[in-house]
Protein backbone atom coordinates (compact mmCIF):
# COMPACT_ATOMS: atom_id res chain seq x y z
CA UNK A 1 0.00 0.00 0.00
CA UNK A 2 2.81 2.34 -0.81
CA UNK A 3 1.08 4.05 -3.66
CA UNK A 4 0.03 7.58 -3.37
CA UNK A 5 -3.63 8.31 -2.75
CA UNK A 6 -4.51 10.71 -5.50
CA UNK A 7 -7.94 12.22 -5.61
CA UNK A 8 -9.77 11.90 -8.92
CA UNK A 9 -12.02 14.76 -9.90
CA UNK A 10 -15.29 13.58 -8.48
CA UNK A 11 -16.16 16.79 -6.71
CA UNK A 12 -18.00 19.63 -8.33
CA UNK A 13 -16.07 21.95 -10.60
CA UNK A 14 -16.71 24.92 -8.35
CA UNK A 15 -14.68 23.30 -5.62
CA UNK A 16 -11.62 22.22 -7.49
CA UNK A 17 -10.31 25.41 -8.99
CA UNK A 18 -6.82 25.95 -7.68
CA UNK A 19 -5.99 28.77 -5.36
CA UNK A 20 -4.21 31.74 -6.84
CA UNK A 21 -2.53 33.09 -3.75
CA UNK A 22 -5.77 34.08 -2.11
CA UNK A 23 -8.67 32.64 -0.23
CA UNK A 24 -12.16 32.34 -1.63
CA UNK A 25 -13.88 33.97 1.32
CA UNK A 26 -11.47 36.64 2.35
CA UNK A 27 -14.03 39.04 3.79
CA UNK A 28 -13.26 37.76 7.24
CA UNK A 29 -9.68 39.02 6.93
CA UNK A 30 -10.99 42.49 6.08
CA UNK A 31 -13.46 42.33 8.96
CA UNK A 32 -10.72 41.49 11.42
CA UNK A 33 -8.41 44.12 9.96
CA UNK A 34 -11.14 46.72 10.35
CA UNK A 35 -11.77 45.83 13.98
CA UNK A 36 -8.12 46.47 14.75
CA UNK A 37 -8.43 49.80 12.90
CA UNK A 38 -6.05 48.62 10.20
CA UNK A 39 -3.26 49.30 12.62
CA UNK A 40 -0.07 48.23 10.90
CA UNK A 41 1.45 46.80 14.05
CA UNK A 42 -1.63 44.66 14.75
CA UNK A 43 -1.79 43.53 11.17
CA UNK A 44 1.83 42.45 11.43
CA UNK A 45 1.08 40.43 14.58
CA UNK A 46 -2.01 38.94 12.97
CA UNK A 47 -0.13 37.99 9.87
CA UNK A 48 2.60 36.32 11.88
CA UNK A 49 0.23 34.40 14.16
CA UNK A 50 -2.28 33.42 11.50
CA UNK A 51 0.61 32.48 9.24
CA UNK A 52 2.04 30.16 11.87
CA UNK A 53 -1.31 28.49 12.32
CA UNK A 54 -1.81 28.27 8.58
CA UNK A 55 1.52 26.41 8.34
CA UNK A 56 0.11 23.78 10.69
CA UNK A 57 -3.20 23.46 8.85
CA UNK A 58 -1.51 23.10 5.48
CA UNK A 59 0.71 20.30 6.81
CA UNK A 60 -2.27 18.49 8.34
CA UNK A 61 -4.19 18.72 5.09
CA UNK A 62 -1.20 17.49 3.12
CA UNK A 63 -1.03 14.54 5.48
CA UNK A 64 -4.74 13.87 4.90
CA UNK A 65 -4.32 14.17 1.15
CA UNK A 66 -1.52 11.62 1.12
CA UNK A 67 -3.54 9.23 3.27
CA UNK A 68 -1.61 6.18 4.35
CA UNK A 69 1.28 6.99 2.06
CA UNK A 70 3.52 8.41 4.77
CA UNK A 71 6.67 7.89 2.69
CA UNK A 72 5.20 9.95 -0.13
CA UNK A 73 4.12 12.63 2.33
CA UNK A 74 7.60 12.83 3.85
CA UNK A 75 9.26 12.97 0.43
CA UNK A 76 6.89 15.72 -0.69
CA UNK A 77 7.54 17.75 2.45
CA UNK A 78 11.29 17.49 1.91
CA UNK A 79 10.85 18.61 -1.70
CA UNK A 80 8.75 21.51 -0.51
CA UNK A 81 11.33 22.51 2.07
CA UNK A 82 14.05 22.57 -0.57
CA UNK A 83 12.26 25.29 -2.57
CA UNK A 84 12.99 28.81 -1.43
CA UNK A 85 10.32 30.70 -3.31
CA UNK A 86 6.74 30.96 -1.97
CA UNK A 87 5.09 31.10 -5.39
CA UNK A 88 6.94 27.99 -6.48
CA UNK A 89 5.88 26.19 -3.33
CA UNK A 90 2.24 27.02 -3.99
CA UNK A 91 2.64 25.92 -7.60
CA UNK A 92 4.15 22.64 -6.44
CA UNK A 93 1.13 21.93 -4.23
CA UNK A 94 -1.22 22.97 -7.02
CA UNK A 95 0.52 20.66 -9.46
CA UNK A 96 0.18 17.84 -7.00
CA UNK A 97 -3.51 18.34 -6.40
CA UNK A 98 -4.71 20.62 -9.16
CA UNK A 99 -8.19 19.76 -10.34
CA UNK A 100 -8.27 16.75 -8.12
CA UNK A 101 -9.14 17.75 -4.64
CA UNK A 102 -10.72 20.06 -2.17
CA UNK A 103 -7.28 20.68 -0.78
CA UNK A 104 -7.30 24.45 -0.57
CA UNK A 105 -10.96 24.56 0.31
CA UNK A 106 -10.23 22.22 3.18
CA UNK A 107 -7.33 24.41 4.32
CA UNK A 108 -9.52 27.48 4.24
CA UNK A 109 -12.36 25.75 6.03
CA UNK A 110 -10.01 24.60 8.79
CA UNK A 111 -8.57 28.08 9.15
CA UNK A 112 -12.07 29.51 9.55
CA UNK A 113 -13.29 26.86 11.94
CA UNK A 114 -10.23 26.62 14.10
CA UNK A 115 -9.05 30.20 14.26
CA UNK A 116 -10.56 33.05 12.24
CA UNK A 117 -14.20 32.70 13.27
CA UNK A 118 -13.29 32.69 16.94
CA UNK A 119 -10.84 35.54 16.46
CA UNK A 120 -13.47 37.72 14.79
CA UNK A 121 -16.10 36.86 17.38
CA UNK A 122 -13.84 37.69 20.34
CA UNK A 123 -12.62 40.92 18.76
CA UNK A 124 -16.20 41.96 18.01
CA UNK A 125 -17.21 41.30 21.62
CA UNK A 126 -14.31 43.45 22.85
CA UNK A 127 -15.34 46.29 20.53
CA UNK A 128 -18.94 46.50 21.77
Amino acid sequence: MNQEKTQPSIVSKENIKPFIAEFENKEIFFDIAEIVDNNEYYLGVLREMVGEYLDKIIVVNLKTAFGKNRKGFAAFMHELAAISDGTEKVQMINEKFKGKSLFWTAVELDLHEELLDELLEDLEKASR
Binding site: M1, K5, T6, P8, I10, V11, S12, N15, F19, A21, E22, N25, E27, F30, A33, V36, D37, N38, E40, L43, G44, V45, R47, M49, V50, E52, Y53, L54, D55, K56, I58, V59, V60, K63, G67, R70, A74, M77, H78, L80, A81, I83, D85, G86, T87, K89, V90, I93, L102, T105, L109, H112, E113, L115, E118, L119, D122, L123, A126, S127
Partner: protein, 305 residues
Protein backbone atom coordinates in the same frame (compact mmCIF):
# COMPACT_ATOMS: atom_id res chain seq x y z
CA UNK B 1 -8.70 49.66 23.82
CA UNK B 2 -5.91 48.59 21.47
CA UNK B 3 -3.95 46.66 24.11
CA UNK B 4 -7.03 44.55 24.82
CA UNK B 5 -7.28 43.66 21.18
CA UNK B 6 -3.68 42.54 20.92
CA UNK B 7 -4.23 40.42 24.04
CA UNK B 8 -7.25 38.82 22.42
CA UNK B 9 -5.36 38.15 19.21
CA UNK B 10 -2.53 36.49 21.07
CA UNK B 11 -4.86 34.55 23.39
CA UNK B 12 -7.08 33.17 20.61
CA UNK B 13 -4.08 32.22 18.50
CA UNK B 14 -2.29 30.56 21.41
CA UNK B 15 -5.42 28.64 22.37
CA UNK B 16 -5.83 27.44 18.80
CA UNK B 17 -2.20 26.33 18.70
CA UNK B 18 -2.58 24.47 21.97
CA UNK B 19 -5.70 22.69 20.73
CA UNK B 20 -3.86 21.82 17.54
CA UNK B 21 -0.86 20.40 19.39
CA UNK B 22 -3.11 18.25 21.58
CA UNK B 23 -5.13 17.02 18.63
CA UNK B 24 -2.17 16.24 16.36
CA UNK B 25 0.36 14.91 18.84
CA UNK B 26 1.07 11.85 16.68
CA UNK B 27 1.75 14.00 13.63
CA UNK B 28 4.11 16.24 15.58
CA UNK B 29 6.10 13.23 16.82
CA UNK B 30 6.17 11.71 13.35
CA UNK B 31 7.35 14.99 11.83
CA UNK B 32 10.18 15.29 14.32
CA UNK B 33 11.35 11.78 13.57
CA UNK B 34 11.28 12.57 9.83
CA UNK B 35 13.04 15.91 10.16
CA UNK B 36 10.03 17.83 8.91
CA UNK B 37 9.00 21.20 10.27
CA UNK B 38 5.78 23.17 10.04
CA UNK B 39 7.86 26.10 8.89
CA UNK B 40 8.67 24.12 5.73
CA UNK B 41 5.42 25.52 4.34
CA UNK B 42 5.92 29.02 5.79
CA UNK B 43 6.33 30.64 2.40
CA UNK B 44 3.15 28.96 1.20
CA UNK B 45 1.23 30.51 4.08
CA UNK B 46 2.74 33.91 3.39
CA UNK B 47 1.88 33.58 -0.27
CA UNK B 48 -1.73 32.80 0.61
CA UNK B 49 -1.97 35.58 3.15
CA UNK B 50 -0.45 38.07 0.73
CA UNK B 51 -3.87 38.57 -0.82
CA UNK B 52 -5.55 39.22 2.49
CA UNK B 53 -5.81 42.45 4.40
CA UNK B 54 -3.28 41.12 6.88
CA UNK B 55 -0.63 42.02 4.38
CA UNK B 56 -0.03 45.52 5.71
CA UNK B 57 0.49 47.26 2.39
CA UNK B 58 -2.77 45.99 0.93
CA UNK B 59 -4.67 46.97 4.03
CA UNK B 60 -3.24 50.44 4.21
CA UNK B 61 -3.48 51.24 0.53
CA UNK B 62 -6.96 49.97 -0.21
CA UNK B 63 -9.29 51.40 2.41
CA UNK B 64 -12.19 51.79 -0.06
CA UNK B 65 -12.10 48.14 -0.94
CA UNK B 66 -12.24 47.23 2.74
CA UNK B 67 -15.11 49.56 3.48
CA UNK B 68 -17.07 48.10 0.58
CA UNK B 69 -17.04 44.68 2.21
CA UNK B 70 -20.27 44.03 4.10
CA UNK B 71 -19.71 42.99 7.68
CA UNK B 72 -22.67 41.11 9.02
CA UNK B 73 -23.20 37.91 10.89
CA UNK B 74 -25.85 36.96 8.37
CA UNK B 75 -23.28 36.84 5.66
CA UNK B 76 -20.97 34.80 7.82
CA UNK B 77 -23.76 32.35 8.43
CA UNK B 78 -24.51 32.14 4.73
CA UNK B 79 -20.90 31.26 4.09
CA UNK B 80 -21.10 28.50 6.63
CA UNK B 81 -24.34 27.22 5.10
CA UNK B 82 -22.60 27.13 1.76
CA UNK B 83 -19.72 25.15 3.19
CA UNK B 84 -22.19 22.66 4.67
CA UNK B 85 -23.85 22.23 1.31
CA UNK B 86 -20.50 21.72 -0.35
CA UNK B 87 -19.66 19.03 2.17
CA UNK B 88 -23.01 17.34 1.56
CA UNK B 89 -22.50 17.65 -2.18
CA UNK B 90 -19.09 16.10 -1.95
CA UNK B 91 -20.43 13.11 -0.09
CA UNK B 92 -23.30 12.78 -2.52
CA UNK B 93 -20.72 12.71 -5.30
CA UNK B 94 -18.81 9.97 -3.51
CA UNK B 95 -21.99 7.94 -3.15
CA UNK B 96 -22.79 8.48 -6.83
CA UNK B 97 -19.32 7.34 -7.74
CA UNK B 98 -19.72 4.24 -5.59
CA UNK B 99 -23.10 3.52 -7.16
CA UNK B 100 -21.56 3.57 -10.61
CA UNK B 101 -18.60 1.45 -9.48
CA UNK B 102 -20.76 -1.36 -8.11
CA UNK B 103 -22.43 -1.61 -11.52
CA UNK B 104 -19.08 -2.58 -13.02
CA UNK B 105 -18.25 -6.23 -13.69
CA UNK B 106 -17.02 -8.13 -10.60
CA UNK B 107 -13.37 -7.52 -9.86
CA UNK B 108 -11.36 -4.60 -8.63
CA UNK B 109 -11.38 -0.89 -9.30
CA UNK B 110 -8.59 0.92 -11.07
CA UNK B 111 -5.77 1.44 -8.60
CA UNK B 112 -6.16 5.20 -8.42
CA UNK B 113 -9.90 5.00 -7.80
CA UNK B 114 -9.38 2.24 -5.27
CA UNK B 115 -6.90 4.27 -3.26
CA UNK B 116 -9.09 7.34 -3.41
CA UNK B 117 -12.24 5.54 -2.29
CA UNK B 118 -10.41 3.72 0.49
CA UNK B 119 -9.43 7.10 1.83
CA UNK B 120 -12.84 8.69 1.41
CA UNK B 121 -14.68 5.72 2.92
CA UNK B 122 -12.26 5.61 5.84
CA UNK B 123 -13.07 9.24 6.53
CA UNK B 124 -16.81 8.76 6.18
CA UNK B 125 -16.87 5.63 8.34
CA UNK B 126 -14.30 6.99 10.77
CA UNK B 127 -12.23 3.80 10.66
CA UNK B 128 -9.71 2.44 8.20
CA UNK B 129 -10.98 0.33 5.32
CA UNK B 130 -8.83 -1.16 2.60
CA UNK B 131 -9.02 -3.54 -0.35
CA UNK B 132 -5.71 -5.11 0.62
CA UNK B 133 -4.70 -5.79 4.18
CA UNK B 134 -1.37 -7.19 5.33
CA UNK B 135 -0.67 -8.30 1.77
CA UNK B 136 -3.97 -10.18 1.51
CA UNK B 137 -6.47 -9.32 -1.19
CA UNK B 138 -9.58 -11.18 -2.28
CA UNK B 139 -10.21 -11.83 -5.96
CA UNK B 140 -12.98 -9.26 -5.92
CA UNK B 141 -13.79 -6.06 -4.09
CA UNK B 142 -16.70 -5.26 -6.42
CA UNK B 143 -19.32 -7.93 -6.85
CA UNK B 144 -22.71 -9.34 -6.09
CA UNK B 145 -23.53 -10.54 -2.61
CA UNK B 146 -25.91 -13.45 -2.27
CA UNK B 147 -27.95 -14.35 0.77
CA UNK B 148 -26.65 -17.14 2.98
CA UNK B 149 -28.38 -19.10 5.70
CA UNK B 150 -27.67 -19.08 9.40
CA UNK B 151 -24.68 -21.15 10.50
CA UNK B 152 -24.32 -23.57 13.37
CA UNK B 153 -22.48 -21.74 16.11
CA UNK B 154 -21.73 -24.77 18.29
CA UNK B 155 -22.38 -28.51 18.21
CA UNK B 156 -26.07 -29.03 18.92
CA UNK B 157 -27.11 -25.54 17.77
CA UNK B 158 -30.44 -25.28 15.98
CA UNK B 159 -32.33 -22.72 13.92
CA UNK B 160 -34.81 -22.21 16.74
CA UNK B 161 -32.01 -20.88 18.93
CA UNK B 162 -31.23 -18.04 16.51
CA UNK B 163 -33.22 -14.99 17.48
CA UNK B 164 -33.85 -13.38 14.10
CA UNK B 165 -34.60 -14.08 10.46
CA UNK B 166 -35.34 -17.77 11.01
CA UNK B 167 -37.07 -17.84 7.62
CA UNK B 168 -33.57 -17.85 6.08
CA UNK B 169 -32.99 -21.38 7.38
CA UNK B 170 -29.73 -22.87 8.60
CA UNK B 171 -26.91 -24.42 6.56
CA UNK B 172 -26.58 -28.18 6.88
CA UNK B 173 -22.90 -27.98 7.78
CA UNK B 174 -20.89 -25.71 10.02
CA UNK B 175 -19.05 -22.79 8.41
CA UNK B 176 -15.74 -23.30 6.65
CA UNK B 177 -13.92 -21.57 9.51
CA UNK B 178 -15.36 -23.73 12.27
CA UNK B 179 -17.59 -23.10 15.25
CA UNK B 180 -18.21 -19.56 16.39
CA UNK B 181 -17.76 -20.31 20.08
CA UNK B 182 -14.85 -18.94 22.09
CA UNK B 183 -13.19 -21.52 24.32
CA UNK B 184 -16.31 -23.63 23.96
CA UNK B 185 -18.56 -20.81 25.20
CA UNK B 186 -21.29 -19.10 23.21
CA UNK B 187 -20.21 -15.61 24.11
CA UNK B 188 -21.81 -12.32 23.05
CA UNK B 189 -19.00 -11.94 20.55
CA UNK B 190 -19.66 -15.41 19.13
CA UNK B 191 -23.37 -14.63 18.74
CA UNK B 192 -22.57 -11.32 17.02
CA UNK B 193 -20.12 -13.00 14.67
CA UNK B 194 -22.70 -15.47 13.42
CA UNK B 195 -25.26 -12.70 13.07
CA UNK B 196 -22.91 -10.61 10.99
CA UNK B 197 -20.80 -12.84 8.81
CA UNK B 198 -19.63 -12.83 5.21
CA UNK B 199 -18.82 -15.73 2.96
CA UNK B 200 -15.80 -14.94 0.78
CA UNK B 201 -14.19 -16.94 -1.99
CA UNK B 202 -10.99 -17.88 -0.24
CA UNK B 203 -11.14 -21.22 -2.01
CA UNK B 204 -10.44 -19.47 -5.33
CA UNK B 205 -7.44 -17.51 -4.11
CA UNK B 206 -4.43 -18.31 -6.23
CA UNK B 207 -2.31 -19.25 -3.22
CA UNK B 208 -5.02 -20.94 -1.19
CA UNK B 209 -4.00 -24.51 -1.95
CA UNK B 210 -0.36 -23.94 -1.13
CA UNK B 211 -0.75 -21.54 1.77
CA UNK B 212 -4.09 -22.39 3.33
CA UNK B 213 -2.43 -23.27 6.62
CA UNK B 214 -1.51 -19.65 7.14
CA UNK B 215 -4.33 -18.11 5.13
CA UNK B 216 -7.14 -19.90 6.96
CA UNK B 217 -6.37 -18.49 10.41
CA UNK B 218 -5.75 -15.08 8.87
CA UNK B 219 -9.16 -15.00 7.21
CA UNK B 220 -11.05 -16.62 10.09
CA UNK B 221 -13.38 -13.98 11.58
CA UNK B 222 -11.46 -11.26 9.73
CA UNK B 223 -13.46 -8.07 9.94
CA UNK B 224 -14.76 -6.63 6.67
CA UNK B 225 -17.33 -4.06 5.63
CA UNK B 226 -19.88 -4.26 2.85
CA UNK B 227 -20.80 -0.96 1.23
CA UNK B 228 -24.25 -0.71 -0.33
CA UNK B 229 -24.17 2.70 -1.99
CA UNK B 230 -27.64 2.46 -3.52
CA UNK B 231 -29.17 2.33 -0.05
CA UNK B 232 -26.36 4.27 1.65
CA UNK B 233 -25.82 1.51 4.18
CA UNK B 234 -22.69 -0.31 5.25
CA UNK B 235 -22.46 -3.41 7.42
CA UNK B 236 -19.40 -4.51 9.36
CA UNK B 237 -19.17 -8.27 9.70
CA UNK B 238 -16.58 -11.05 9.91
CA UNK B 239 -15.49 -13.71 7.47
CA UNK B 240 -17.44 -16.71 8.72
CA UNK B 241 -17.70 -18.99 5.72
CA UNK B 242 -16.13 -19.74 2.34
CA UNK B 243 -18.07 -19.30 -0.86
CA UNK B 244 -20.15 -18.89 -2.87
CA UNK B 245 -19.23 -21.37 -5.59
CA UNK B 246 -18.15 -19.76 -8.85
CA UNK B 247 -21.07 -21.16 -10.81
CA UNK B 248 -23.50 -19.20 -8.62
CA UNK B 249 -22.26 -16.04 -10.38
CA UNK B 250 -22.00 -14.20 -7.09
CA UNK B 251 -18.76 -13.18 -5.46
CA UNK B 252 -19.75 -12.77 -1.83
CA UNK B 253 -22.27 -14.14 0.61
CA UNK B 254 -23.91 -12.42 3.54
CA UNK B 255 -25.63 -13.74 6.65
CA UNK B 256 -29.39 -13.17 6.93
CA UNK B 257 -28.70 -10.17 9.16
CA UNK B 258 -26.20 -8.67 6.71
CA UNK B 259 -28.57 -9.11 3.78
CA UNK B 260 -31.65 -7.73 5.55
CA UNK B 261 -30.10 -4.94 7.58
CA UNK B 262 -27.75 -3.95 4.77
CA UNK B 263 -30.72 -3.88 2.33
CA UNK B 264 -28.43 -5.80 -0.01
CA UNK B 265 -31.25 -7.13 -2.16
CA UNK B 266 -33.49 -4.08 -2.24
CA UNK B 267 -34.87 -3.17 -5.67
CA UNK B 268 -32.27 -0.41 -5.89
CA UNK B 269 -29.29 -2.52 -4.78
CA UNK B 270 -29.90 -5.94 -6.34
CA UNK B 271 -26.91 -7.35 -4.51
CA UNK B 272 -24.31 -5.02 -6.03
CA UNK B 273 -21.81 -4.03 -3.39
CA UNK B 274 -18.26 -3.21 -2.50
CA UNK B 275 -16.49 -5.40 0.10
CA UNK B 276 -13.38 -4.15 1.91
CA UNK B 277 -11.24 -5.18 4.84
CA UNK B 278 -11.52 -3.26 8.08
CA UNK B 279 -8.14 -2.47 9.60
CA UNK B 280 -9.04 -3.02 13.23
CA UNK B 281 -6.09 -4.58 15.07
CA UNK B 282 -7.52 -3.71 18.47
CA UNK B 283 -10.97 -5.13 17.67
CA UNK B 284 -12.73 -1.87 18.44
CA UNK B 285 -15.11 -1.56 15.51
CA UNK B 286 -18.48 -3.08 16.40
CA UNK B 287 -20.26 -5.45 14.05
CA UNK B 288 -23.54 -4.37 12.49
CA UNK B 289 -25.08 -1.86 10.10
CA UNK B 290 -23.96 1.75 9.68
CA UNK B 291 -26.03 4.40 7.94
CA UNK B 292 -23.84 6.21 5.46
CA UNK B 293 -26.57 8.79 5.08
CA UNK B 294 -26.47 9.71 8.77
CA UNK B 295 -22.70 9.98 8.66
CA UNK B 296 -22.97 12.26 5.65
CA UNK B 297 -25.39 14.50 7.46
CA UNK B 298 -23.15 14.62 10.49
CA UNK B 299 -20.20 15.62 8.37
CA UNK B 300 -22.25 18.27 6.63
CA UNK B 301 -23.30 19.67 9.97
CA UNK B 302 -19.71 19.64 11.13
CA UNK B 303 -18.80 21.61 8.04
CA UNK B 304 -21.39 24.22 8.95
CA UNK B 305 -20.27 24.72 12.53
Amino acid sequence: MPSDKIKIIRQVCEDAKQRFDEKHQDLIVWMKSNDISFSDVRLVSQQLLAATSFAGAVALNSPDEMLAVPQTHAQENNENDLLAVVSQEEHDEIMNKLESIVQMPPGHMEKETELYLEQQLSEILNFEVTVELEGQRLNHSIGIMGGEQHLFRFPGDSLAQHDAYQEAGIAPNRGAFGWFTEGGELTEKAIAREKYYFAVQTLYLENWNTEHQTLKPWYKFRKMVVINPAEKVAVVAVVGDAGPAAWVQKQFGGSPEVIREGKIWSPKSRGRVLLLFVDDPDDKIPLGPISLEATTQMLAEAGGN
